[in-house]
Amino acid sequence: MPNASQSHGEAADLRFRPRRRVYLIDRVAEGVITLGGMGVIATVLGIIAYLLWVVVPLMKPGTVEGAGTVPAPSSASYITLDEYQRLALLVDQKGVLHAFSLVDGTTVGEPLDLGAYTASSFSPDTGVLALGHEDGNVTLATLDYNIEIDSSRSVSPQIAALAVGESAVDGSGVVERTDEDQFRTVSADVTVSDQVTDQTESAVPVVIDADTFGRNRVVAVIRNDGTGSVLKVTTRRSLVGNSSKTSVETLPIDIAPDSQTPGWVLLLDEGREVLLLWEDGRTQRYSVSNDAYKQTESVSATDEGESITRIQPLLGRRTVLIGTDLGRVHTLMLTRPDEKGDGNRKLVRVRTFQIEESPIEAMAISRRDRTFAAADSAGEIRIWHATSGKQLGTTRMPGGAASAITVAPKLDGFYAVNETGVASWRLEPGHPKATFESLFLPVWYEGDQAPSLVYQSTSADDSAESKMSLTPLIFGTFKATVFAMLFAVPVAVMAAIYASEFMSKSLRNKIKPTIEMMASLPSVVLGFIAAMILAPYIRDHLSSVLVGLVVVPICILFGSALWPLLGNRAWRLPQTAQLSVIVLAGLVGIALSSAAGPAIDRALFSLHETEEQLLTGFVDPAQQIPEWAEEKSVFTLGERTRLRGAGLYVLDDRVVEPIDMTDPVIREQFENRRETVLAGSSPFKFWLTGMVGSPVAGWVALMFVPALIIAGFIGSSVGRAHSAAWMPLVRVGGSVLMAVPIAYLLAFVLSAIGFDPRETILGTFTQRNTFVVGIIMGFAVIPIIFTISDDALQSVPNTLRSASLGAGATQWQTAVRVVLPVATSGIFSAIMIGLGRAAGETMIVLMATGNTPVMDWNIFGGLRTLSANIAVELPEADRGGTHYRVLFLCGVVLFVITFVVNTTAEIVRQHFRKRSAML
């Protein structure tokens, strides 16, 4: 048939023409999809790689690179240099001060003879040099540098010939051409004071130490007659003219009479403490009192059989480096007064660094942080950071042991002197404070009683160090997550079960999208609500909110227990009205709790009059303090309870007793005061501070929910045979009534054992607290948990529900025994995904917590999470610095946490898929 073949040909044509286009589209689509997919994978890997690239240098040691040797004008006791590392000042063993260029070793100017000395000390950070002379006098000199930048200077031909970057000695300084028309001259600025003496003593100084503290220079000196004294040298410049007046104030050091002359004397903590050290490691601490330095402590700075060879205070003079003959450097630290113990300061040995076996010959400190360099007699040099213990570099002195060593002011190099000259190294310190230990484990910070986990990225003053332990942040992240999940998981999962198993389909089709829409609320809006609305509301109505957490669910239970009575029997309401009844019951619960909250608060945490006196300040220091409490200033809750037994309280770390109120005038004052201070306030908040009240009341409040659960179990097993419509109502009512005595019983038992809830999850109330975060962040993750849980429940085949219902199970039995077990893993993965979301949540925690990196479980206290920390601090972090990289490390840790959580969720979900495939 011609017709047919023709149409066949046409059809073939028609088929063929689109085919080429189809192939083209196919290829283009393949290309685009491949590009997109690969792009995404590459981007994700790239982000991880970038994060690691920023973080990894944190863990690396610094680099040390030799920078040549220049001849030294003489042997050296001390050496110091300017910040540009051009000019060095060197004090030799005869007390002569030499200045020379570090570029070529040329001497600059004339040597300055400060006189032969019997004792000497030098503080590199302040430049204070102290020399004790045979006649008993002390010379104080300050070694400093003048830096002049000069562009229009008439230069000598020699200087004019310099190329950019070259230096030469010219006159009294080292000149460097820093630019075509700019010269920088570094010259020595040495001021030598009149010789100071305390005038009463003329014995020969044996050991000496001096430094500048504020406007005073303080000298500690021990003489060969066994006496010691501290001289405070105050120089006052008159406002007019150039004259200055120096006054010396002397305080003796009461050295134990039979002790030998010490090997070293050291001023600590702005001269308030003096340390005497002997070669065998004996160390005595003397503290200033009214008229003398009295011995307060005696410790050993070294191990048995180990002798001290050198000592050097670290920057800030709170820690001493003890170099020993075994090649070790111990750090001996003076703690702050121990507020939790006897209130005293202590010398503690914190760390030990080891070079090799040879004795330590010289040590030098950084003027920026707690980095130090140590050299041994074999010529080995090491650089460490004293707090973190990180070794920044290691090198070897050419030509044997160094007699003096110094670290460049900018911590970018160091110099060592011996017979062959001055050897120099360039130093790239890297990130001295960052080690695995300092980032995650307890670190013993300067002044502390014990190692601690602290995050404090910027410190108030320079001598205090920044503390970058991530552990409080990880803890904060977990704390926020845990409290959010405690709120979100029950609500979301129960809502999902209700929606999936009990709600009518038409209502469910409306509710589910609504809840899913909640997920699209920006977290900054939630954070704003948390900080501006919820936090102040909870502050003002704390007791109502807490009571509501229990009362509203109970009222809802009552509502549903009322249903069979109302709906089916009395009024024959339609089934759809059940939800309205329950909602109404919930509203009644809210009204009830807001009314009853303050009343329950006052009833449970009622204040005794003596407690009210304490809170209004009508107390006096206690006349008789129990012996065990006499020395204490900080009291634990248990100790406070013990004191309360004796009618005593603690106010501002002091034991007080209520004053006698029999005088009507005082009583009237008290009544007025009570009216203004206490009226309308929540006794619960006072109780939370731990100042007043016994643990029992708190335990009753805390244990009410567990008691309710126990009572509910008992109630549900009673009267199973009765299926009367009023039975559920009786069960709910009976359980609630039964819960009260159970809660009291539990509370008395727990208090009797000695637990106080205020030591664990309760504590002083702050407005921006974890409770607020828990609620609002809970709201943020409820939609996601609800949706995924609901999907998991819906994916349970209906045949199972039919089978269960057909066998005579109730809807609840079907849900709990058949549907839930099948959906468990799906719900679990929903919870894990919610957990991952909560852990990474930033804005809510940023806005609703105080961002205080503390480590306690107090639900009414603040916290700081990893994510909030990054958001808060990244803008102020110096790009490429330690802080910057630590913040990136926060990101990596956060990534690891969410990765682990999500992976667990995914593994469980895979398992779930396999199982449900069998159904």
Partner: protein, 284 residues
């Protein structure tokens, strides 16, 4: 068809459908000779506006197997699910008429649906064991009634599994997951679960439609065996199956019960031509 049998009468159901009226069932007199366990009288059911059952009246004889046959959508499954009120779960369902199980009403407002369902066992089209052990599956109806005595549970389990002719196959693996059983075994397990509480009526909704011929044969044999001890109401699409397993057969069409009698009557001497056409495979 032999010539001595009377020609089936021609009363078309279509007439009733066209007028949206109910249809008076052609009931063979033999049915009335048996004691009935379930009496359905003028039972109608609506899904929202759509009427699914039209004044169905029938009585199910005690201890016999009654098959419900008819083309798809004729309402046989709906009728079956009305007996244990599983249709209640669909919120738009409305019923009229009465059903009496052992002279106790099923649809009275005071009836506790849960205890009703315990008196009526049900086996579904697709086998639906719970993702639990075989043991837990069988005793599930007892568990939800709060039975805790180990001896009772064990005894019931064995008896039910023996009734369902699966005891010998699973007695060594009672604690293994029921999901590991074959399709036929799962269906017999479901029958065991249904008979565990000695129901007054056992409903079966096309219990063999998802099974292979060998498994089907076993189930049919099982139905045969338990007939006498239990009253079975079975929905089936398979005419041969109906003729093989049932004592009585009811033919339904478009929501009406058309003809009801002993199986031999329905298959050999149907009174109505539509029944004859259906059972001889000329439509449906």
């Amino acid at each position: 068809m032999t010539s001595n049998t009377p020609k089936p009468a021609v009363r078309t159901v279509q007439d009733a459908v066209d007028t949206n009226a109910s249809f008076e069932t052609e009931t063979h007199s033999d049915v009335a000779d048996h004691e009935s366990v379930l009496d359905i009288s003028k039972f109608s059911l609506w899904y929202g506006q759509a009427r699914a059952l039209y004044d169905v009246s029938m009585s199910i004889p005690r201890g016999k197997v009654t098959a419900l046959i008819g083309p798809s959508g004729c309402g046989k499954s709906t009728l079956l699910r009305s007996v244990n009120r599983l249709n209640d779960l669909v919120s738009i369902v409305r019923t009229e008429g009465e059903m009496m199980l052992n002279n106790r009403s099923i649809y009275d407002p005071s009836v506790d649906v849960i205890s009703l369902r315990k008196r009526v066992g049900m086996v579904f089209q697709k086998s639906n064991p719970f993702p639990m052990s075989i043991f837990e599956n069988v005793i599930y109806p007892l568990r939800i009634s709060g039975e805790r005595k180990k001896s009772v549970l064990k005894e019931t389990c064995e008896r039910a599994l023996r009734s369902a002719a699966i005891w010998d196959e699973v007695k060594d693996r009672l604690n293994e997951s029921a999901l590991g059983l074959s399709g036929g075994q799962q269906q017999r397990l479901c029958i065991a679960r249904a008979v565990a509480v000695e129901p007054e009526v056992l409903l079966m909704d096309e219990p063999c439609s998802a099974l292979d011929p060998i498994a089907t044969a076993k189930i049919e044999e099982l139905i045969h065996d338990i007939a006498g001890r239990y009253t079975v109401l079975i929905v089936t699409h398979n005419m041969q199956q109906a003729s093989r397993v049932s004592d009585f057969t009811a033919f339904m069409y478009l929501g009406r019960l058309v003809e009801y009698g002993t199986t031999s009557q329905i298959f050999q001497t149907p009174k109505l031509s539509e029944t004859e056409q259906y059972v001889t495979g000329r439509f449906g």
